[in-house]
């Protein structure tokens, strides 16, 4: 059987099937820089696309699994062992220093998403977003509400460097009540459950980011220094199905 005609056109990311195929090439790393930028803009907000990417990562594991395992030399573990001890103590104190390139990439991604103009959603159903900023007003994390308000998805833009033993906690405040939602990740994507009592008021909740010790209690009275706080904003036109 002869091959279908050759492909020359780029992926149409407004088409679901095309998006799924693009996810495969995103994992394979064969998208052009332009396709990749558009794809990543969608990826930052689309839970479905994130799932597609993960599914392709699993599919393409078949390539890794086909390799015959090779034992590394015994000396290697010793070298790693020597490095993890100082690595646990030697973090610098470079706080909240993010590059302007990250900021630019984020702005480009957000602009691309907004320009795609998908069908408008009822504002009650729309995604709500909060961008956790550094003191320099650079984006560090994106906090996204799920459509049913039962979860928050946290997408790392650029993690802040923290001193050893310190973490960033995400809190929600409704009225005078607080809930500690989770620890912000250093990279990647993470999903947090939203407590039942907040869900109906989630998009009105205030988001608070504090710096706390890794073993600290989740008692709001003992909350560490607050480095950012604000409100969700509706992202009307989001095509995310969550």
């Amino acid at each position: 059987m002869s091959e279908p005609r050759n492909i020359v056109e780029p992926y149409d990311l407004t088409d679901p099937e095309s998006r799924h195929q693009a996810a495969g090439e995103y994992v394979l790393n064969t998208l052009t820089s332009r396709e990749k930028a558009s794809f990543e803009a969608l990826l930052a907000f689309s839970h479905d696309l994130q799932a597609d990417v993960q599914q392709w990562r699993e599919h393409l594991q078949v390539l890794d699994r086909s390799l015959t395992p090779v034992a590394p030399p015994a000396k290697l573990w010793k070298q790693i062992e020597q490095q993890i001890q100082p690595a646990r103590k030697g973090f610098g104190l470079k706080f909240w220093q993010l590059s302007s390139m990250v900021s630019f990439s984020f702005a480009l991604a957000l602009t691309s998403v907004l320009l795609l103009k998908p069908p408008m959603l009822n504002s009650d159903m729309a995604d709500h977003l909060y961008v956790v900023n550094t003191p320099e007003h650079k984006p560090a994390w994106l906090v996204n509400t799920s459509m049913d308000r039962s979860h928050l998805m946290i997408q790392t833009v650029k993690p802040a460097e923290l001193p050893d033993g310190k973490i960033c906690k995400l809190w929600l405040k409704v009225g005078d009540k607080y809930a500690m939602i989770g620890t912000l990740p250093h990279s990647g994507l993470i999903k947090f459950d939203v407590p039942q009592w907040i869900q109906s008021d989630l998009v009105q909740a205030q988001i608070i980011i504090s710096i706390d010790s890794i073993n600290s209690d989740n008692n709001p009275d003992d909350m560490g220094p607050v480095v950012d706080k604000g409100d969700f904003m509706p992202l009307e036109g989001s095509i995310r199905r969550f």
Binding site: N29, T30, R57, L60, L63
Partner: protein, 188 residues
Amino acid sequence: MKFETPDPNQLQQLLKRCQQQEPKALKALYKATSSHLFAVLLRILRNESHAEDCLQQVYLKVWNSAGQYNADIARPMTWMNTIARNQALDWLRRYKNDRLNDSDDVLVYQPDSKSQTDTIAEQWQTSTQVHKCLQELKDTQRQCIELAYFEGYSHHELSERLEQPLGTVKTWIRRGLERLKSCLSPAI
């Protein structure tokens, strides 16, 4: 030497303990997974010494980011293989750039020549268990996907290397991915 397939549940537990910075957990994780990750690094870098250096970096990254692993999103080996592949491809790009910048003693990445390390790596990588779904791909499709996955080739680079029009290469990749997906989907 016999290599066992790592148990995902055990790996998840070890990653949790790495998050608590338990060196013994990293050691157990290394014991269970290093031969698999080293094979990936050798396939990409084709140089034993560089694969060793890279493997160290991979486990340091795993150690420092174990807290970010989310079992709801990825299987442990997928997460670790992704770290290894990205680390090796970054390494490869850096050395390619160094080479272009006239460095004399960097990793010599020569897909068309047979250095001694290439031969060793190829011997190691002669797999006897090629997945049936990879066997279902046409040779051209599999070659393109493997070159892109393991060696970071772009469409244009594939087109040049294989001396085929860009559209042909794109078609091979898309059709290959579709075929791979339809073969693998029922199993995942």
